[in-house]
Symmetry: C2
Subunit: 398 residues, 2 copies
Amino acid sequence: MAKIAILGLGTVGGGVAEVLRHNGASISDKLGEPLELSKILVRHFRDNPYRSLMTDDFSQIEEDPEIQVVVETIGGMEAAYEYTRRALEAGKHVVTANKELVAEKGHELLELARRNHVSYLFEASVGGGIPILRPLVQCMAANEIEEVYGILNGTTNYILTRMNRSGASFAEALKEAREKGYAEADPTADVEGLDTCRKICILADLAFGRQILPAQVLTEGISALDLVDVKLAEANGWRVKLLGRCLRLPQGQRVAYVAPHLVREDSPIASVEDVFNAIVVRGNATGEVMFYGKGAGDLPTASAVVADIIDALRHEKAPSPIGWSAGTEGVVSAEELKQRWYVRTEADQTAAQALLGPLEPLTDKMGLQAFLTQPLPLERLYRAGGPLKMHSCLRVLT
Amino acid sequence: MAKIAILGLGTVGGGVAEVLRHNGASISDKLGEPLELSKILVRHFRDNPYRSLMTDDFSQIEEDPEIQVVVETIGGMEAAYEYTRRALEAGKHVVTANKELVAEKGHELLELARRNHVSYLFEASVGGGIPILRPLVQCMAANEIEEVYGILNGTTNYILTRMNRSGASFAEALKEAREKGYAEADPTADVEGLDTCRKICILADLAFGRQILPAQVLTEGISALDLVDVKLAEANGWRVKLLGRCLRLPQGQRVAYVAPHLVREDSPIASVEDVFNAIVVRGNATGEVMFYGKGAGDLPTASAVVADIIDALRHEKAPSPIGWSAGTEGVVSAEELKQRWYVRTEADQTAAQALLGPLEPLTDKMGLQAFLTQPLPLERLYRAGGPLKMHSCLRVLT
């Protein structure tokens, strides 16, 4: 009999309890022993089927020697950070979906887990129910990872899909997303790219084995995106997608950033629509591999949490060796990255070409001027921006 | 220091040696000890950089107590089967890409591995470098798997892509695939669906935890596919893809089959082109998850083999618990599965409707008659086939 506790009974925590109840028999089969949910930490007691398991005192979980795994689904930093540390120090495995905590404090918490011979696992923190972290670390272990990029936020992908398909503006599409329950009352973390930023940090940490912190990641969301550019891109065979992206540069430096990109309409990532997520990993042996599915939702996310619980218990004697080194040297700014740009401007092609070099013009029925540049660093674009009366510029994924 | 041996130095075996050499430092880092390729079993000695490691006597590997992992890349049944058994009995982990052997003898070899406290691992047998078996078994462990389907063969997908894009006939597209090195001199196993059949068996075994043997799998390839149907489907928003598919039916029976299908052009699997593979897994908590990448090639496949080597060595004391039970009860024929059908016929809609029930007509510029049916078992279609002068019928993925 393996006993676990859940901290917080919100969407994910409630989902974990439900998956354990619904698929309990087959989970116990795989584990070789029954799995029992024995305590749930809540702030306020509520009447529901789990009432008898609730406590508002974390020390009851911390001090219960029978609890082997603590599921942290509180979210945010303060309480989650404190309870995670105390659980690891008490010799319990901790499983979480808390991307903010992992992105900010992952290195420290993984070290703490290692010293206490337990696992700190967070498959659910990126891509919801999509298996991505374990495949990246284990299945692609024979590769040097060169790049990871992906659609990591379902809310923004829903908004972009609506803008592209129905011609809704950003504000209209956001309203729709809210009505469908895909966007929160305060959508800032989603639409400004913060959520994607945390996830790309975790992916970069694991892919490159060294830390990148959210504060080092140039982060641009989609709230300033103009429908005109989405439609113009579409008419020329491109889709606009918000990507988190990290690369290892030829000299070994690392870079991570979040920004809307033009992606080719016939690329697999372009066909990722609505609230779906997808992550592309490029390894030096495997080439590009893509993982696709629902990036959020109570049951998908909960199923990733439960898979981590099973993994922690199965390898009780050989805790997960994942981790990354501290220190953020070798991280360069995305501004230095040379990439192709989509540029909409009032200047004509000759004037633009004089400042930006060879351009690939895009066609437009409304008489707008737009081009794709050759690979350029952002700084070169900044310098040309004023003279060219640039209305918008977007990165191009090549 | 961990020592390994490779059996056979063909495409995959040679790729394994190359990945170990090229990414050796980072692999040793992940493993925590150096990994040494110490022997290679060959039939004929050749001059190449590995000449000093070659032997033509398996007992030199079998009896070397320092060799912990044997990589079987001979392929086929006889010798591969014998050496795998002997290696497992000698207490060595075995890692392979041999889908034929795993599909036919997987249960027996996994049992043998279990009794000898070693792992028998075969991530590379399905999807080449795409992580699929471990994600299916580990990351989706909290799910009841309801269905798995996929484009599991790159050669046939290349042929279908060419037929769709350039209007080449099957024979012309096959010729192109041969010229590009994508098809073997004898392409039977690919184009008749046998390769896909073996892979869907392995996926079904793992997904449902019970054996399905290749002989139980209705297997239809693409050699009889008419270009007319590919073009007609395309004009109506569908792509033709060769899928391996397995499902768990509501009463718990299992079914697996291989056949060309119409898939919606806006579905993620429709955008899988050329030699790429993709596998979709539907779990009751996660929903649909897709894994995409190169399904063949020396380095992608080798990198999956090497990841298995690392896994086997890392969990030396807790060998992989994967496996499935023997016995094939509960397997029903795909003929009993109700599905939608694409039908091209000389009969008009009224006559067809009288025999097949409600139909959705497809449009065609050449004046051909084609419909999509409601879900029907194959047997109902057989009965209607004669009277309707049916030219072709294809399954529809819904």
